[in-house]
Amino acid sequence: MATAAKKAPAKAKSDSKSQSAPVTPKPADFTKEQDVAAYREMLLIRRFEEKAGQLYGMGFIGGFCHLYIGQEAVVTGLQMSLIEGDQMITAYRDHGHMLAMGLSARGVMAELAGRRGGLSKGKGGSMHMFSKEKHFYGGHGIVGAQVSLGTGLAFANRYRENPNVSVTYFGDGAANQGQVYESFNMASLWKLPVIYVIENNRYAMGTAVSRASAETDFSQRGLSFKIPGIQVDGMDVRAVKAAGDLATEWCRSGNGPIILEMQTYRYRGHSMSDPAKYRSKDEVQKMRSEHDPIEQVKARLIAKKWASEDDLKAVDKDVRDIVADAADFAQTDPEPDVAELWTDILI
């Protein structure tokens, strides 16, 4: 029995293509420029999110607001592996994804505040933002829905025979939705160029992974569909970049989909209204002090003498200025014109 069970996946792998099944690569060797860029990008996301949290507390941001603090290395590292035209789609914890794709902090913050200068003219809000120009397809509030949509983006790439990949993000919670597996099946069947990035931050809202998932190794969730997967240290931007390189190469070579389980952690509650009582303070503190994605890069930059404390302070100031400007803009930009109520329903 045991032998048979072991044999099956091995055979599945050999079936798919000559290329052998991917294994977790070593973290990428970053140049000074790459480390500095990653530091800056992650810091921008963190400071932006801190400010968003503050503005939420002040009542400037309404509804739900899900912060990305702690998970910054995932989008930052993956973004470094993409080429022009690659698409990104995610769920509702999306501010960091948009900043990583190069969308303006002003546009994102103004959307959070429901202002006319927001990316969706104030009509989408925190969970629903898009950018055709940057190939960002949302920003989706229905857990798991973006997985089928992202598979459809990959379908369009294959249909058009272009080299692009669809980077489809979802969480450990969404990984239990049925349509995820419907999508896995079609993506594998049709060899669609889609990278399924499972951001495993250990808690689906308040439910720990082990309480919700029979198989907690999310990289294995594609096995019945012959989709290979690897686990990646999602707190180390270099590990993420290496995995991104591997995955984009895998997809662009026509091998079909691949799963990257990003092992990460969110420091804040699920949303602003979640006090996160389902985990200990020690657990959060341990993550922050031992695995913080930004501190890791900072320590490396200092140790390698690639940057001085003053250099890093300058980056910090720069980032704070961008965020302050975005916050000012979001607070002074007018609300949408009332005529906007009736626009963009149909073309």
């Binding site: 829905a145 369009a156 790439n157």
Partner: protein, 460 residues
Amino acid sequence: MPIEILMPALSPTMEEGNLSKWLKNEGDKIVAGDVIAEIETDKATMEVEAVDEGILGKQLIAAGTEGVKVNTPIAVLLQDGESAADIGKGAAPAKAEAPATAAAPAAAAPAAAPVAAAPKTEVAADPDIPAGTEMVSTTVREALRDAMAEEMRRDGDVFIMGEEVAEYQGAYKITQGLLQEFGPRRVVDTPITEHGFAGVGVGAAMAGLRPIVEFMTFNFAMQAIDQIVNSAAKTLYMSGGQMGAPIVFRGPSGAAARVAAQHSQCYAAWYSHIPGLKVVMPYSAADAKGLLKAAIRDPNPVIFLENEILYGHSFDVPKLDDFVLPIGKARIHKTGKDVTIVSFGIGMTYAIKAEAELRAMGIDVEIIDLRTIRPLDFDTIIASVKKTNRLVVVEEGYPQSSVGDFIANQVSQRAFDHLDAPVITIAGKDVPMPYAANLEKLALPNVGEVIEAVKAVTYR
């Protein structure tokens, strides 16, 4: 300038809370991320994290204070070089207008800004069919196939996906021959996975392709309704007009014959509820062809509701190179002066049979075939009611919140003075579809009911 720390909101609805305890004392150095206090509401306890750095200059609200309003300053943070003496010196960068604008926009908006009525869009008239155009007797099934084939020839971005659409040639043979002409890249057999392939279709549409998604029946699309409503219909609005989903979802809807409860349901009213969708439900083959071509070209998501029983019915279809009909325009099937019957899809069969009998009784009926359920062509309905002063609506769907109910409501609001009788709506019975032949017949509308309704509104 000292920075005020404000009482934060834990949720969109929180207006006040208790400051249960301070975790930092006056004089403590604070760095961003430090937990400085705990606040609580009846629902939750939450930590207040500092966003800025500095020295905690003063606690303005004592620990244990209840009912602290959101946005009340609770402490003052001093910056480098500032001392407690600076407190009060213009310390209010807290953007005092914040709560005012944010707190009650929902309540204030309607009063402040009288919401403009929805803008009216002009709908084109049916294209003129030149005199002498050859009319070809065509089944609805063939008309639908021809429409898709013509559009696929015209635009390489159009493709069809669904269960059994390719090699099997369509569960109801609507896609007959398409695989042979267009190949498997554009005629895509999917696994039995409605939720998934609806989402894949919407994603492909968001990327700019023009998918036609066939549901073997719209009953199965219940598994996919989230992708249709939340993804396809709303993306244009949520993206501020940047991207939408030019996609057609089509397939049979409504009762067929003896397939019972789970396979016999009309979806016209369901989808007509959703802003961001267009809903088309043709009766004749000509309308099926002209409207399906229009739906495929439409940049919006279109729900195209067919009927299994009508697939085999033949109608005259004009032999034109490019016969496209306007979505959103009803068709006057027959003019009359005594009473208006509005119907759509297979409901038209009851209206047409009733009209023949009513004519024999001397009642001159006008029949309007809606063709499109959303946007609904009220201009045509109301013009007719102003002429006949009497209205009966016929459909197969369930009675509550039906298409007919909405029409009756709108007509009573827009043309009340023109009505000489209450509007009567005829719908399927308010029961799941039974299997037994006699019960199924009872559950559906029938010609007798239509005749009785017309007699009632004409006081005959």
